[in-house]
Every structure is written in C-alpha cells, then in structure tokens.
C-alpha cells in the first residue's frame, strides 16, 4: 500500500492534506467564522498582532524539549510560576518599567533553572512516559507554588507592600497589579500602520529568540539533543551523556518559559496570582499543535501559524457561538473543547504513528530474517 501512495500526483496531495489536517481544519473554521462574527478587519488584525506578541515567546519555549525527544513539555508551567514569583518580588521592590521587567527576568533565571533541573531529573526517571509525568509535575509544583506564595511570602520571604499582601498579613492577593509596568516593552518603539499598532520591540525580542533557536540547532549541544531525540540508545553508544542532555533541554525550556511568562504578564498588566499559570501550558501546547506540529516534530513556522489560527479562533468563538445559539457560554465552552480536542487528536495520531512504525520495523526484520534463511 505504501508504494502505491508514493507514486503519482494525487496521492501526494492526499499525503500533504493528511499531514496538515489540523491547520486546515482551523483555517476552514476561521474562514467560516469571520463573516459570521461581523468583526472589522482592523479590529481582528489589531487583536492578532497583540496576541502574537503576547504568546509567541511562551510557545517557542516548547520547541527545545520536542527536539530532544521529550514530547510536549507540560512542565513549562514551572517556568511560568518562576516568572510570576519574580514579578511579584520586583513589584514589591517597586522597580517599574523596563528595568523592572529586566530585573524580573534576571530573578526568574535561578528559580526556573532550579525547577527545570528538578523536572528534568524526574523525567529521566520516567523515560517513555515524559508527558504524563511532566503533566503531573506541573500539578505537584502548583501545590508547592501555593505553599510559597500563599503562606511563605510574608513571614519567610519579606513582602513589604500592603497592596500586594493579603489583609491577614501573609500571602499574596489574588491579583497583583503591574500597572506601572504594563506594556512598557510593547509601547517602546511601537509604530502605527493604518490603525494597527505594532509592538516592534516585543517582536524583535521574539525574532531574536527564533534566531537563537535556529543557531542553537546547529551547535554541538543542539546536534546532541537531536540525536537523543532520534534514538536514546544510539545516542548513548555515540558517547552522548543522554541524561545530562535531556536535563539541559528541560532547563532551557523552563527558563525561556519564565521569560515568556514575564513578557505575557507585562502585556496583560496584572497577575492573577493563583490562576495565570494553570492554563498557560495547555493553551500554548494547543496553539503549537494547531500550527501543525506533532509530539516529535515542531518548527518555528508551526509556532506562528499556530498562534495565529488558535487565537483567531479564540477571539471568534464566543461571538460566533452567541450569534448561532443565542448563548454566549457555548462559545466559551467550545474554545476550551477545541483546545483539549486538538491536543487529544495530536496525541492519538502520534501514538498510532509510533505503533505503525514499530510494526513496520518488525515486519522488515522478519522479511530480512526470512531472506537470510532462504539463502
């Protein structure tokens, strides 16, 4: 059957379609929804630019673990938590504006690195089930995060300002305002083109990260990671320290996720202390998958296509849902369903493919053996 598929032009298109089912589905959904929603083009464009600037950095942080064959890093939530802790601290030190953002990024590095190290070490103990483990790690660390932020900030970690602290004297309020930091990076160097505001500096930072990733792939470490991602055993035989390489990839991802969260929150202008990070992993992963990435392969192109399509759907769904069914909640639920659904489908496709490859390899081996025997 495979040889049949390889020949001819028609099957090629089928293959192309099959490999890009998810993005195509989204393009169709969005194409249908845009006229129904009745949003103006400039409004949509403005929203899209804002959201691309807000989310791309976070999603890019997922690429490195995929390269190292560790699947979708649900543990990026750890980086998001580190970013939030760093921002809470800088907000308490009253360092605002760009220096505040830079300081928060610096503060977040050791926290992210430590959490990443922990996550990487645990994932090395659970090879072959990294995703579910990283997913549970994010839940577990959420408990630790609450312990730190809700109980230890105040008595153990000094917090001075009552605007941040809960009235009871310890713990952080549900929302921490970053008003003096709000969009400081976005607004610097921002330009207006035909009513669409473009946050040039943010986009430049994202571009720099893209360049870094492209460069990193070519370094020795990057090559090692790809080797580890291809085949653990072969990489080990080639003299690569597999465990160390995997830990580095997770640490890098966590640190980048921390930066991404800080960029995200400076755009939002406030921190929802106990919920900002909880959904971020899910939305970033869904966006990446919508862009056509899979569990084992993801490119920078997937990130941008994904963030565009996914957030377009996000803006459109509530309004369209309300227009069609007369109930605004339907759209809300619909977009949550789509996020989960996309991840489910991607995971299923990945596992089915993995199994098919395995059985193909088994058949090949059998054939070779039979040939040898007949000789």
């Amino acid at each position: 059957m495979n040889t049949q598929l390889k020949n001819g032009f028609g099957p090629k298109i089928i293959k192309l379609l099959r490999n890009n089912t998810v993005p195509l589905m989204f393009i169709i959904i969005c194409a249908v929804c845009i006229p129904v929603s009745g949003f103006s083009g400039s409004y949509l464009l403005n929203e899209m630019v804002t959201r691309i600037a807000r989310n791309s950095f976070l999603i890019l942080s997922l690429l490195i673990p995929i390269m190292a064959g560790m699947g979708l890093n649900f543990g990026m939530t750890l980086g998001a938590m580190a970013g939030e802790i760093a921002l809470i601290l800088t907000a308490d030190w009253q360092i605002w504006g760009i220096p505040g953002v830079v300081l928060a990024m610096i503060v977040s590095i050791p926290i992210s690195a430590l959490l990443g190290l922990l996550c990487g070490t645990l994932l090395n103990k659970a090879k072959g089930r990294e995703m579910i483990t990283s997913y549970i790690i994010s839940f577990f660390m959420n408990g630790i995060y609450q312990l730190v932020v809700l109980y230890m900030m105040g008595p153990i970690i000094p917090i001075k300002h009552t605007a941040i602290k809960l009235p009871r004297g310890y713990g952080i309020r549900n929302t921490v305002s970053l008003l003096n930091m709000r969009q400081c990076i976005d607004n610097l160097l921002a330009i207006n083109i035909g009513g669409v505001r473009i946050p040039v500096l943010t986009l430049l930072i994202i571009a720099a990260l893209c360049l870094f990733i492209v460069w990193f792939r070519k370094t020795k470490l990057g090559q090692d990671m790809r080797a580890v991602g291809q085949d653990l055993e072969v990489a080990r035989d080639a003299g690569i320290n597999v465990d160390r390489t995997r830990i580095i990839s997770i640490v890098m991802s966590t640190v980048l996720a921390g930066f991404g969260m800080i960029l995200y929150l400076q755009n939002m202008g406030n921190i929802a202390t106990y919920s900002s990070h909880s959904q971020i992993g899910m939305f970033c992963i869904a966006a990446l998958l919508v862009g056509g990435a899979s569990v084992e392969k993801a490119s920078i192109g997937n990130v941008f296509l994904g963030v565009t399509l996914f957030h377009l759907m996000f803006i459109l769904a509530p309004t369209v849902g309300a227009k069609i069914t007369g109930d605004s909640m339907i759209g809300e639920y619909f977009r949550v369903f789509i996020s989960y659904g996309v991840i489910t489908v991607a995971l299923i496709m990945y596992e089915v493919k993995k199994r098919r490859q395995k059985s193909q390899m088994g058949q090949q081996l059998q054939q070779e053996q039979m040939e040898e025997e007949s000789k």
Partner: protein
C-alpha cells in the same frame, strides 16, 4: 552488582519493608495517625471526625475501585475516569428528567448510566487498543475533551424538568442540581447505624462491599486471571491464546461502568449533581488514593483500594480541622494538592515500574 544489592537488602529487613511499602506511603500513614492522635488534643470531636472520614470513604471508594481493572490489564492508571463519570451524570439527569423519584430514581440512574457506560467504555477501550503504550496521557485528554464537550451538551440537550434547568431561560442544566426528593442519601440512610456522634452509612458501604467482592471474585475466574496475565506479561498471554485486545477492552468497560456507578453513589452521599467543569479533575484523587493504598502503575488489589481510600479521605477530612485549631491557618488544600500529586509522581518515576 545486582546480586550484591539484593544481598544487602536481605541483611536489612527494616529497610526492605520501607522499600516495599514505599517511603511516601509510610509518611502519609504516619501523618494520618498523627492527625488522629492530635484531633482529640486540639479539641476536635474524634467520633465526628471518624464519621466524616467513613462518610467520605463511602462516597469515593467505588471510583477508586474503578482503577483496579485497567491497572490489572496493563492499561495503566485510568486518568480517563471523567468519561465514566459523564455516563453517570447522564444517567442521573435522565432518570430525574423522566420523572422518577426516591429510591427508584437511583436504580433507573444506574440502569441508564450502564447503557451509556457500555457505549463510551467500548469506544474508549477501542481507542486505547490503538495506542498501546501511551494510554495514560491520552486517557487524561480523552477525559478532558469529553468533559468540555459535555459542557456544551448540558446547555443544549433538551432537558425540561424545572428543578434541573435554569429558572430564567427554562433550558440548559444548572451547574448544581439538588437531589432532595430524588436519590439524596438513599443508600446512606439504608440500615444506618447511629451510636452517639458516630454515624455509619451502612447501605453505601454495603454496595461498595458487594462490588469489591464481585471484583475479587472476577479476578479469580478464568477471564479475570487472563486479564491479569495480559497486564503482567502480554507476550505470555498471547502465547497462551488470550485475545489481548478483548481483555483490555473488557477492563476498560468495567472501569468506565464503575466510574459511572461511583459518581452516582458520590452524588447520593453528597446530595447534589455537579455538572459542567466539575468532573474535570475527578480522576486525580482516585488515582492518588489507590497509589497511596500501595498499588503501582501495573498492579492493584482490593486491599489497596480500601486502605488507599481510607488514608486519602482521612487526610482530606482531618487536615482542615486539626490544622485550623492548631495554627489557625487552613493549609489543607495545599497539603492535599502536594500529597496527592506527589504520590502519583512517585509512582510514575519509580525505575522498576518505568520499564515494562
């Protein structure tokens, strides 16, 4: 090298005991014992606490029991429990919609839920057979996507019963539905024992005992043994002529059905049906309970269920009261999150269990 370590282990029996039982389990058991000792000291009513623990045990035990078949057949921890829960919720709401009341509504709810659980469980089992090796992650997301899909369905399905739908618009189910007049505490009040402040919901415990006994008996039948064989050694099972996919499907269906019954029993104890996003994270407490009870990712028994549910629910009920009266600080929620997820993490990262 390996022989050496085994010899060392033999020398140190205590160490071996700790290793077998698992340090986290030991800590949790110790923690619970400490709570029980501290409770009277800090002035909490011991029997009221015990009643609470037993009550919560009776609500949750069947959902924990639902973990057993899938673990035994090698499908791993059933993070897809919410799928079965949805079957149960459909059963409960449809039974009320059809106008049944009292104990009859509970029976009908179970009957209708069984119908949905069979269909959903069959599909779920078919899916899990396609993706052997990646069950747990996909199960998690099957659970999530089905819950979020049902969020839309609860709004759109044609329910009309006035005590279930939103008052203003007259359509779309409410987020919480009171079961008063329907199957609220039908099991708990059956043969209820009351001694002072100690109350025992005999009916609920009886139902759990019957189901647990059936499960135990099932794993001693030919089919049950075959199922265990599939889980512990698939190659051997295939050689023995066992249809692996059928065994796995069967275990998934049983698990889904138990989850459906489990949520109905939970509702009758709790007194409310919770819809929409409520079932999202139901799997985690059940998973961690059975792990605390001593199960691993590929081995579980009824004893694990009973011990685990008791320890977990004991911890959940005791921590707030004891903590509050000791340090005037309610850290129970945080402790619950850390303990339950820590336990799952521990089970997932044990080297011996990772390579199968």
């Amino acid at each position: 090298m390996k022989e050496k370590t085994i010899a060392v282990e033999k020398d140190n029996k205590l160490k071996k005991l700790v290793k077998n039982f698992g340090l986290p389990r030991l800590i949790i058991t110790g923690f619970l014992l400490l709570l029980f000792i501290l409770a009277p000291i800090v002035g909490a009513d011991f029997f009221a606490q015990l009643t609470n623990t037993i009550n919560r045990f009776s609500w949750n035990a069947i959902m924990v029991l639902a973990m057993v078949p899938m673990i035994q057949s090698g499908c791993g921890l059933n993070f897809g429990l919410p799928l079965g829960v949805i079957a149960g919720l459909l059963g409960g709401t449809i039974s009320i919609e059809l106008g049944f009341t009292g104990g009859m509504s509970f029976l009908m709810a179970i009957l209708i839920a069984t119908f949905f659980a069979l269909i959903l469980g069959w599909g779920y089992g078919w899916l899990l057979n396609k993706i052997k090796g990646g069950e747990m992650m996909i199960a998690t997301y099957v659970g999530f996507s089905s819950v979020s899909f049902m969020c839309m369905a609860w709004l759109l399905l044609p329910y009309h019963k006035p005590n279930m739908v939103w008052g203003l618009s007259g359509k779309g189910l409410r987020t919480t539905i009171s079961l008063e007049g329907f199957y609220d505490k039908v099991l708990a009040n059956f043969l209820k024992i009351k001694i002072g402040s100690l109350e025992i919901p005999t009916g609920t415990l009886l139902l759990f005992a019957v189901l647990a006994l059936l499960m135990w008996a099932f794993f001693h039948t030919k089919v049950g043994t075959a199922m265990t064989a599939v889980g512990s050694n698939p190659a051997f099972a295939r050689a023995a002529g066992i249809n692996i996919n059928r065994m796995r499907s069967l275990s998934v269906i049983i698990s889904t059905w138990l989850a459906a019954v489990g949520i109905l029993v939970y509702e009758q104890g709790f007194g409310f049906i919770q819809l929409y996003t409520a079932p999202f994270y139901l799997a985690l407490p059940a998973v961690s309970a059975i792990l605390i009870g001593g199960a691993s990712v590929n081995k579980a028994s009824i004893t694990n269920v009973i011990i685990g549910t008791f320890l977990f629910q004991g911890m959940v009920t005791m921590t707030p009261t004891v903590m509050n009266s000791m340090i005037h600080m309610d850290m129970s929620e945080v402790i619950r999150i850390i303990v339950s997820n820590g336990m799952i993490l521990y089970a997932l990262t044990r080297k011996t269990e990772a390579t199968r």
